[in-house]
């Protein structure tokens, strides 16, 4: 893998210069919002904020947070800061509950977005010689078009296959010599498995796939390994991150060293906060990521609460970039449980359970208050009946699960084996936590 940097001026500038640029852009943004956004103007008046109050980056703390509810409450165009004729594109997020969140872009916003995506795509190995298949669904979702424009910007040959139709995806891959794929980790894995199934007719060496830009859902190191091994032939994939409220993909992405996701900090000012108290945490702490999009004008967003839990590393990477790197998302602040003072995420339990085949992938966390102390019960479904033969085997399974989870969380837990299909199934986002502490 070659280390490539699309915009060294911006990606490798000294921290001092970068922070000066961020401050300059932040001041301009606050001034812009005050003058053009009714939503922010009203907020600024209420909190006594003006652009000249921002003298250093930490003065951003005067500005209240923006939440997904703000976007929902102003649905569809209440947060626009330009006349509608200036808007050249609209996207919306799925909106599992209530109104979807709508985002809008000026021509300049789209240019900035493309630049951001170009950087992460280039860092991940795409070049002007690449043939890229985009297997994200096109439409209101920002993923497909975001990557599309960014990849066109670097001069790659873009093949907008969209999602689904595995047969066609594989045919184009073989016939076009597609070497780069944009997909969710799970679809990328599914395609590899489907390709293998057709191995007699089309052996794996009929594919030239070398690079994967995976995103839109989390990818554990174990899963990444599985994806790379399934495609074989030196296939290398990286993770990238973004959300429609902050343009879409392109906020951050991994370089070839895969030691955190480089944030395009000249465009995004990031903070990490305690999601319970809203207090800004010191550099390096783990907490909820809060992002200000410094360059967006159509629908500006200040201090957006992503609800994603991560931490930031400001050390210069071996790739040469000076931009901060965010760790893979540990979990969602919505899902976070505080048990005996320890932060617990369902995703941590999930990773502990991976690879244990005698239980189903469904689990439930039950939190109780016993006396003055919290207790956590992890309920898993036993599916391997052969373990019933020897009681010790069941105890061994329980011990294995117990040890794995305890090693990750560092707190005492109770593991319960339950009958199959007794843990409720959810078609959408799983509700894995039953918190009985205040009931």
């Amino acid at each position: 893998m070659k280390n490539r940097i699309w915009n060294p001026d911006m990606e490798c500038m000294s921290r001092k210069d970068l922070e000066a640029l961020q401050l300059e852009r932040l001041k301009a943004l606050v001034d812009y919002c005050d003058k053009n956004s009714k939503f922010y103007h009203d907020r600024f008046v209420k909190h006594g904020i003006t652009a000249d109050k921002i003298k250093c980056l930490s003065d951003i703390q005067y500005i209240p947070y923006t939440t997904k509810d703000d976007l929902r409450d102003t649905y569809p165009f209440g947060m626009l800061s330009v006349p509608q004729k200036e808007i050249v594109r609209v996207h919306a997020s799925s909106g599992t509950t209530g109104n979807p969140t709508v985002v809008a872009y000026t021509r300049e916003d789209l240019a900035n977005w493309s630049e951001q995506v170009a950087r992460i795509a280039y860092a991940a190995g795409a070049t002007d010689e690449s043939i890229v298949q985009i297997c994200f669904g096109y439409g209101m979702f920002t993923g497909a078009l975001g990557l599309h424009y960014g990849l066109e910007k670097i001069g790659a040959t873009v093949v907008p296959t969209s999602s689904g139709n595995t047969e066609k995806q594989l045919k184009f891959m073989r016939d076009f010599g597609t070497d780069t794929i944009v997909a969710t980790p799970s679809y990328c894995l599914y395609l590899a498995e489907s390709a293998k199934e057709r191995g007699i007719e089309f052996p794996m060496d009929s594919y030239k796939l070398k690079t994967g830009l995976l995103g839109s859902e989390g990818c554990t190191p174990e899963m990444r390994k599985q994806i790379e091994e399934s495609w074989g032939n030196g296939f290398f994939c990286t993770d990238n991150y973004g959300m429609s409220e902050l343009n879409g993909p392109g906020m951050s992405g991994e370089c070839i060293y895969r030691d955190g996701l480089h944030i395009n900090e000249d465009h995004f000012l990031c903070e990490v906060i305690d999601s319970a108290t809203g207090e800004v945490l010191p550099k390096g702490s783990t907490g909820e990521l809060v992002v200000t999009n410094l360059t967006k004008r159509g629908l500006p967003i200040l201090r957006y609460r992503t609800k994603d839990i991560t931490n930031l590393n400001y050390d210069t990477c071996q790739c040469g970039r000076t931009t901060a790197r965010m760790n893979k998302i540990i979990g969602r602040s919505d899902d976070m449980l505080k048990i005996r003072g320890v932060n617990v995420f369902p995703s941590q339990i999930e990773s502990a359970l991976i690879g244990i085949t005698s239980i189903s992938p469904h689990y439930q966390l039950v939190v109780r208050r016993e006396g003055f102390s919290d207790s956590l019960e992890v309920r898993v479904e036993l599916i391997d009946a052969s373990l019933l033969e020897i009681y010790g085997e069941l105890e061994k399974l329980r011990k294995t699960i117990h040890t794995r989870i305890k090693n990750i969380l560092g707190i005492e837990i109770k593991v319960s084996l339950v009958e199959p299909k007794t843990i409720e199934r959810f078609t959408g986002k799983a509700q894995r936590v039953l918190d009985l502490r205040n009931k």
């Binding site: 036993l382 009946a385 009681y391 069941l394 084996l417 339950v418 299909k421």
Partner: protein, 144 residues
């Protein structure tokens, strides 16, 4: 000389044993012997029924975790030392006993013990060679 036994995972919650045994009733299977090993949150119910395959199928359909295994059943005379003898034989032959449970019948003076051992063939061999009564499936069900 093996007899089929059902091992059933039973969560420790009210009514679960009733539901499971009702499911066995649906298969029209008659329970001949049973044992339950329990912990605080679950138990393993082990039963010998006259229609093991039908009962297992019915339970599986109801979503119950169940396995069918072969166990052996021996007849024991009603006098002191009658049970220790086969235990000694198994021990000397190096056959581990995982668990066991006993039952009696109206048709015989003997007591019967279901044994789950690590190696059925080795156990069967040493017990038969030493004149211990082993029941096959047909004899077992005739006794009932």
């Amino acid at each position: 000389m093996n007899i089929k036994q059902l091992s059933i995972f039973v969560e420790n919650k009210q009514g679960r044993l009733a539901e499971i045994t009702e499911t066995i009733t649906k298969a029209n299977a008659n329970i001949r012997a049973l044992s339950i090993a329990d912990t605080t949150d679950f138990g393993i119910l082990r039963i010998i029924v006259d229609k093991p395959d039908e009962a297992a199928a019915c339970l599986k359909e109801a979503g119950v975790t169940v396995s069918v295994t072969n166990v052996i059943a021996i007849g024991i005379d009603d006098n002191p030392g009658a049970f220790s003898r086969p235990m000694r034989l198994l021990s000397d032959a190096g056959v581990d006993v995982e668990y066991m449970y006993a039952f009696i019948t109206r048709k015989s003076e003997k007591a019967y013990v279901i044994l789950r051992v690590a190696d059925n063939d080795a156990a069967t061999k040493v017990l038969i060679e030493n004149g211990v009564e082993l029941l096959d499936e047909a004899t077992f069900h005739e006794l009932m």
